[in-house]
Amino acid sequence: MNSSYEKILKSARDLRWDIGGDFHEKIMESLYTDASRIADRAVTHPGDTPRFDLDRTIDRLVTSRIWGFPLMVLLLTAVFWLTISGANVPSGLLYSLLIDTIHPFLKSIFATLGIPWWIDGVLLDGAYLATAWVVAVMLPPMAIFFPLFTLLEDFGYLPRVAFNLDHIFKKAGAHGKQALSMTMGFGCNAAGVISTRIIDSPRERLIAIITNNFALCNGRWPTQILIATIFIGALVPAHLGGLISAFAVVSIALLGVLLTFVVSWALSRTVLKGEVSTFNLELPPYRPPRILQTLYTSVIDRTLVVLWRAVVFALPAGVVLWISANLLINGVSIAEYLVNFLNPFGLLLGLNGVILVAYIVAIPANEIVIPTILMLTVMISGATGVGEGAGVMFELESGLQTLDLLTEGGWTLLTGINLMLFSLIHNPCSTTIYTIYKETGSIKWTTVASLLPVVMGIVIVFFTAQIWRLFAG
């Protein structure tokens, strides 16, 4: 090292001993002293301070003991309701366009061109169908949910939600802002994981990342609703069915919230004990949101980015699924081997081989779980008259038809309940895993975030199954 450089560093070291440890504080003091002097010279208050402070009035209202929580629940419910009900129509349109219209159209073109059946199968029934499915299910809710969420954020309300909920999250060793990343997770876990960037304390951010998967994302809602309707709703008279099945789905979502707290608590006291933890939360002034700007950026930044990643993962998944259902060894497809191999373990867990295979295939995208389950069930049980052939995903028009098919596949009420539990508590989809890796830059935390929920899920469904069998039959 150059001697003059060394001299500089040495005198810096020596001088540091002289100055003492509060150096940083002295600098900040000097900075703020000067800042305040300069500001004082430049700032004047020409009129009377207005009596009415709108920001303060809104703040008092949204954080008040009486109105704070009801308002919050109301607003968030409205966002979810708008998302779910608003997404129905475009989802249906996309579905009928991409799957009912374009898919057969492409098939007929391939057929007239005389393209071999297996190319047609891999490309159209595998890759295209899986991707189209994911787009149809995912795009509309995200295109509604994210802009709404961003509008609330721009207005300045979301930091108040974090402020209100910090009291609860603190008890679980987490940050109030986790309320926001969790809510975002109900839209999409990958987006939820990205949104943990707003948490600037490393420990709490890791907690939020690892537990985000317990927020039931929109790729899993359809599974929950379908299974709840045909298995749980069917237990009660028809006019109560809708209510009871809705109640079951909400209970699962709330169980997810409960698990978020429990796991956050445990993580902050064990593996994450050593991560730095700080807290501060700025409550910015309320500002009218810029609607067009928000629409543009949230569609670009959140919706399209997440959708693109999902498509990238769904496409090969479709290919793999089709191949595994169509590549025969000794006359039996790979998928069937796998199903039969996993079936005993699946039954022990109160699930079955089909469900486990579907969840392995569906790691890239939870949206295709139900179509895959139906396809595999038809394949295994040899049911006729439904479905479109091996490796071709489908859904059935009516719940009753689905129930018949599943019952034929050996499903019981326990299978339904355990599927709902397992759909909540299993490994994150590959888009989310990839996002976690990108956000943490650490293989260790990505592994923890991926394996922890699936191990928990297996344990929970196992015990549910045994206790159920012990008492119910």
Binding site: M1, N2, S4, Y5, K7, I8, L9, S11, A12, L15, R16, I19, F23, H24, K26, I27, M28, E29, S30, L31, Y32, T33, D34, A35, S36, I38, A39, D40, R41, A42, V43, T44, H45, P46, G47, D48, T49, P50, R197, D200, P202, R205, L206, G274, E275, V276, E282, P284, P285, R287, R290, Q293, Y296, I300, D301, K438, E439, T440, G441, S442
Partner: protein, 292 residues
């Protein structure tokens, strides 16, 4: 190549005129900008946008660039950045949105990124967006930026909101006190942007010569320590424009700056493995595989 020319120019010309040595050529450090992931092809000047959180920084960014922007991450880090460009006069400007921070003392990843960009990227202009209603808090950041560079324009934003709260800021007084141009704006309604662009171009082209205000440190021991270090630094690195700031960082034990002095390449950006660690998870332990 360009950078070397700059250096020789500055050494030859007396120090006080160092910046004026080449009035119209860009001041940015192209090699470092490239390392920071900024593509400078087709751009004449690079402008960094700094500011506290919630000062309407992104509104200013959008107002200046329109929708010609893209977002991405800083190399190896998870902090998003927006990049865009605009034309003004005969020149093309690249605008880089830095993370919103309260301070530049590298306490958090965001602060480190913003600091590194201004220090190593040496942007031609750094625009600091300031909330007129919270001037005192915002000036803290401004004063820190002025310690690093004198190519600064203050964008006094949200003056309408300040007026609603009965706060009026004398921008000319502020400009005189800070020694750099101050432009009042309401970015949301595109007010004051023309003046802001003019100020940016004058600083970029070297037409405006700033004599920025420097913080007075009240701690007597600190003052002595700083001046002792400053003379040593100026001797060893005559081309460094912000010796006082470097001295302060050395006293604070800023590892990045210590390394730069050690290697004798103050002004060069060297990314190390540690910095790639997005969450600041303990690096020594990770590298040696220790259980925490």
């Amino acid at each position: 190549m360009e950078k070397d020319l700059n250096k020789t120019n500055q050494v030859e010309i007396s120090e006080s005129q160092a910046q004026a040595g080449c009035a119209s050529c860009p001041a940015h450090n192209a090699a470092n900008l490239q390392k920071l992931g900024v593509d400078m092809e087709n751009w004449d000047f690079v402008v960094a946008l700094a500011g506290n959180p919630n000062t309407g920084k992104s509104t200013v960014f959008n107002a200046l660039t329109g929708l010609h922007q893209h977002t991405g991450n800083w190399p190896g880090k998870t902090v998003t950045r927006a990049e865009g460009g605009f034309d003004y006069g005969e020149n093309r400007y690249k605008l880089v949105d830095l993370p919103g921070t309260y301070s530049l003392l590298a306490t958090s990843l965001d602060e480190e990124i913003a600091r590194d960009f201004i220090l190593f990227g040496q942007p031609d202009v750094t625009v600091v967006v300031v909330d007129a209603a919270r001037l005192e808090r915002n000036l803290n950041l401004v004063l820190q930026v002025l310690e690093i560079t004198n190519r600064v324009v203050i964008c006094l934003n949200l003056v309408d909101e300040a007026e609603r709260h009965n706060i009026s800021v004398d921008d000319r007084r502020l400009a005189r006190d800070l020694g750099v141009p101050v432009v009042p704006t309401v970015a949301r309604y595109d007010e004051g942007l023309e003046e802001l662009l003019a100020a940016i171009s004058e600083v970029a082209s070297g037409k405006t010569q700033a004599t920025p205000y420097h913080v007075k440190y009240t701690h007597p021991k600190l003052d002595q320590a700083v001046s002792k270090l400053v003379s040593q630094i100026q001797e060893a690195f005559p081309q460094v424009p912000n010796a006082r700031w470097v001295a302060l960082r050395l006293l604070d034990g800023d590892e990045r700056i210590i390394k730069a002095v050690e290697k004798g390449d103050l002004g060069e950006l060297t990314y190390t493995v540690e910095n790639l660690d997005g969450l600041g998870v303990d690096t020594v332990a990770l590298k040696s595989g220790f259980r925490l």
